[in-house]
């Protein structure tokens, strides 16, 4: 392994470690979010959502770092960067990339959990939102004293504005 390969390998390991940390954080944030969605107040839900948002701060930098590393490795291996996966990189680099292989397994597991949990949590939030929207519409239709059967959009502007 030449020096160039070693340098790219170190950069990839650093990136993967950062991504593992981010995915771990996202997983924890999603747990908090899921709890907030079901048991928390609106403020708690928003606070959990903001916590998720904090993880997006490094999203651009991580995305650029990932693109740079993959582009450099693609040039080094003489292949299109978009065709590279961690498995193919480990395969090309051999024994020296066993750390990457471990990180890949860890990251795959975490990212999978994040995807599953985020889908479920997102679905939960959407369902809550839909139930609430439906309940709100019915409630406002029933409680607007002079609605005269008007639609929610016609009668609820003031309430929404107050909210």
């Amino acid at each position: 392994m030449n020096a160039r390969e070693q340098q790219l390998l170190r950069r990839l390991e650093s990136y993967l470690q950062l991504e593992i940390g981010v995915q771990s954080n996202l997983l924890a944030c999603l747990d908090v979010q899921a709890t907030a969605l079901t048991t928390g107040t609106a403020d708690e839900i928003l606070a959990a959502t903001e916590s998720l948002g904090l993880e997006f701060r490094t999203m651009d930098a991580r995305s650029k770092e990932r693109s740079d590393i993959l582009r450099s490795l693609g040039q080094h291996f003489g292949v299109e960067a978009g065709t590279l996966t961690l498995s193919s990189i480990v395969e090309r680099l051999g024994e020296a990339a066993q750390g990457i292989a471990q990180q890949r397994i860890q990251l795959r597991e975490l990212a999978g959990q994040v995807v599953r949990k985020s889908r479920r949590t997102s679905a939960l939030a959407r369902a809550h939102g839909q139930i609430l929207g439906s309940a709100l519409e019915q409630t406002l239709q029933q409680n607007l004293p002079d609605s005269g059967g008007a639609r929610l959009e016609e009668g609820g502007a003031l309430v929404n504005a107050e909210a």
């Binding site: 996202l26 979010q33 969605l37 079901t38 609106a42 998720l52 609430l132 929207g133 709100l136 309430v159």
Partner: protein
């Protein structure tokens, strides 16, 4: 994966429970007694997986709790009871205020004023038939006004009893409802959690109950409500008791099943209604009856001693009947003061005047009334003892007085215009009076030796003639002497003139004479043996005019200060003594006095002394009864003899029917003289006279006090209701803050949630997309 789905589903269901509660809150925002509910969320029980891991299972709704401050609720109950009670009282008092018609031209106060105004108009021209009719009509209007107040009060009392019965039925229904809710709550709460809506319903029932009656609420260990109403256990975990309305000693009461005696209800509309029935209405009834009673007594007092337009009575029947109180079948033995008469009889005296319609001569008779001893029979006997009238006590208990033909009678305080009926002051007969007055120290067997024109003779006091030996009254001595036939045979007669004894010849003129010879009675009578008394050809006429303006009944004794001729003898005067023996006036009838001229003695009384001789030596004497009140015993209004009003309460007060029919029977005159309205003047004084029974205020002021009293009570009750309502409003505001539903807040909460969910959904979708991108790398 299935565990994850379960967690999501549970969370979704939990979220839906929360929203259900929000919807429940909003739907019941205006439901009385509804308490805001909240979802209690807990972490769902963890599951241990086959691999030994303990996995969370999300969230679940543990309970739906009412947000209730039990202390606040408990504090509200007595407050609601206070308002219920005050409202009920206010309702009744406002009704009573309407009955009085204060401020209205037809109100009781205006009727009373109109009555006295009509009397005032009549007093200017007492014989005017139209004015008499007006006065009688106005008197009837006032009585009718009081009758209507009484009828309205009784009607209102019946209405209130009906209201009370309805209120008690409502109490029973609520007690049953609370008891039923106790059962349902116990059954519902066998499984964990509270039956919030049932508890709200029970709390509301308790509040409804508190508006009806004062209640205390407590809970047993199983959550059953125990209600104590006015000290009685109304609802208990095993059931409930019922209240019922009853009467004890004619007083409306509320009692509880199984309780001893009546409940002392102090709060709620039941308490207020009972307060009206037990206190306010009886007190007002007493007040208005007291006014009617006193008014009737005062008017009848004045009227019964008056004389109708046609003059003295020939027949009079009492309106009120003696009642056989001791139930021995006899009416005559009933004490006048305890014989069921409507007005109290006191120690006093009644003067009866009997008029000879042919001569105009009048005799006055005094009947003493001892309230604790005089019976109806004795009173009738006293009347029968008066010459020319006869009295009976009918089988129905009414006293009837009839005058002999040619005679009339009345009870007026008028002066006797010819008080010297026997001619003992300057009369033509030979006359010897006693210088001293009774009692005389005479005993049975005492004698008096006299010589008349036919020769000497002796008269003896026979056994039984004197009630008390050694203390004979003038009447007893005169009767005893007259009882001895020797006196009449000797041409003499004895008379009692006041407390003096007068011995006279039967005939008049200078030829008439008699001589006192001796006897054992001389010393006691103050006479001297050898005294000779001679008649006169000139009889001195004595006449009394005017009307007595003094305040006390009295008997004046008039004696000359010396022997002399009226209008001629210098220094000849008449000394006037009151009943205590004090000289209260002296009238100069000597030289310079024109015989027959009226001279004032005292207090509006004038004496006219005709020409003739007066003798101090022979103890000339005359008495004159002066009467401020001819019935100080009130026996006339009590018996209803010549009353103006019949009845004595607000219910039965009415103008005597024959007066309504013939207003000339209104006894306006105190003397019987045409145009005299002396009684009208007395009646007018009734309006403003201070009455001890009313703490010194007059009848008109007393009516004002009653009217103003009701108004003040209304004002106080209104203020109290406002104050109590203010406190209750404060408590309800605090309760609403704790338990009430604010629809806006609930909606804002929903919208906040909706926005939070949407934001979260979008963020998480981004997370998911990014992570999916990452998955393409790994």
């Amino acid at each position: 994966m299935s565990l994850g789905l379960n967690i999501g589903l549970r969370a979704l269901l939990t979220s839906q429970s929360g929203l259900d509660v929000v919807g429940q809150n909003i739907t019941n925002a205006n439901t009385p007694g509804y308490s805001r509910q909240e979802v209690g969320l807990v972490t769902a029980p963890s599951l241990r997986t086959g691999s030994g891991l303990v996995m969370g299972t999300g969230v679940s709704a543990d309970s739906i709790r009412r947000t209730v401050d039990d202390l606040l609720n408990a504090r509200m109950l007595p407050q609601m009871g206070s308002i219920g009670r005050l409202d009920a009282r206010l309702y009744g008092m406002e009704q009573v205020d309407l009955f009085l018609g204060e401020g209205s031209a037809n109100g009781v106060g205006a009727s009373l004023e109109n009555f006295f105004a009509r009397l005032s108009a009549l007093s200017i021209s007492p014989d005017d038939a139209v004015l008499r009719s007006d006065a009688v009509s106005a008197a009837g209007s006032f009585a009718t006004g009081l009758n209507e107040v009484d009828a309205n009060l009784k009607g209102m009392e019946q209405d209130l009893v009906s209201r009370l019965e309805t209120q008690v039925r409502q109490v029973n229904a609520l007690a049953q409802r609370i008891s039923s809710l106790n059962d349902n709550i116990r059954k519902s709460e066998v499984v964990p959690g509270e039956a919030n809506d049932l508890r709200d319903s029970r709390d509301q029932a308790a509040r409804d109950l508190a508006e009806l009656i004062d209640v205390q609420v407590s809970f047993d260990g199983a959550g059953s409500m125990r209600v104590i109403a006015s000290g009685g256990l109304l609802v208990h975990p095993g059931g409930f008791a019922e209240l019922e309305v009853g009467r004890v000693n004619d007083q409306v009461q509320v009692s509880i099943d199984g309780g001893v005696g009546a409940l002392r209800v102090r709060g709620g509309s039941v308490g207020g209604t009972l307060d009206l029935l037990q206190n306010f209405i009886p007190q007002f009834q007493d007040d208005i009856d007291g006014l009617a009673h006193r008014f009737a007594l005062e008017v009848n007092r004045a009227h019964s001693t008056g004389i109708p337009q046609d003059g003295p009575f020939h027949a009079l029947k009492a309106a009120n009947a003696i009642v056989d109180r001791d139930q021995d079948g006899l009416l005559g033995d009933e004490l006048l003061s305890n014989s069921g008469l409507p007005f109290e009889i006191q120690d006093g005296e009644l003067f009866v005047n009997v008029t000879n319609e042919a001569t105009g001569g009048l005799t006055r008779h005094r009947i003493g009334i001892d309230a604790s001893h005089t019976t109806a029979g004795q009173f009738v006997s006293e009347l029968n003892a008066i010459q020319n009238i006869a009295a009976t006590l009918d089988a129905d208990g009414r006293v009837t007085i009839l005058a002999d033909v040619g005679f009339g009678f009345d009870f007026s305080a008028r002066l006797n215009p010819n008080p010297d009926g026997v001619g003992s002051l300057g009369g033509g007969r030979a006359s010897l009076g006693t210088a001293t007055t009774a009692p005389f120290a005479l005993t049975t067997g005492d004698t008096l030796q006299l010589q008349g024109l036919a020769g000497p003779f002796t008269v003896t006091i026979q056994p039984g003639a004197l009630a008390v030996d050694g203390a004979a009254t003038a009447e007893e001595v005169a009767a005893a002497l007259n009882a001895d036939p020797n006196l009449a045979a000797g041409g003499l007669t004895a008379s009692a003139v006041g407390d003096a004894l007068v011995l006279q010849t039967s005939g008049a003129g200078a030829a008439e004479s008699f001589q006192v010879l001796g006897g054992s009675a001389l010393g006691a009578l103050g006479w001297t043996a050898g005294t000779t008394v001679t008649g006169s050809d000139t009889s001195t006429d004595i006449a009394i005019t005017g009307s007595y303006a003094g305040s006390e009944n009295d008997q004046l004794t008039i004696r000359p200060n010396q022997d002399g001729v009226v209008g001629t003898t210098p220094g000849l005067k008449l000394d006037v003594f009151d009943s205590s023996g004090a000289r209260v006036a002296q009238v100069d009838v000597g030289a310079g006095y024109v015989p027959g001229q009226g001279v004032e003695i005292l207090d509006g009384i004038q004496i006219e002394v005709g020409f003739g001789q007066l003798s101090a030596t022979d103890n000339d004497v005359m008495v004159l009864d002066v009467t401020a009140d001819s019935d100080t015993s009130d026996v006339l209004p009590a018996l209803g003899l010549n009353s103006f009003y019949g009845g004595s309460t607000a219910a039965d007060l009415s103008v005597r029917a024959d007066i309504v029919k013939d207003p000339s029977l209104l006894a306006a005159s105190s003397t019987g003289a045409p145009g005299d309205g002396g009684v009208l003047a007395q009646l007018l004084e009734v309006q403003q006279a201070s009455i001890d029974e009313f703490n010194g205020v007059s009848l008109a002021e007393r009516l004002g006090e009653i009217t103003i009293g009701v108004g003040l009570e209304i004002s106080n009750a209104t203020d109290a209701v406002e104050a109590e309502q203010f406190l209750l409003d404060g408590l309800e505001a605090r309760r609403d803050a704790v338990s009430g539903v604010n629809v806006d807040e609930e909606l804002v909460r929903m919208i906040e949630f909706e926005q939070a969910y949407n934001a979260a959904s979008q963020y998480i979708r981004v997370v998911s997309e990014l992570s999916e991108q990452l998955m393409t790398l790994v």
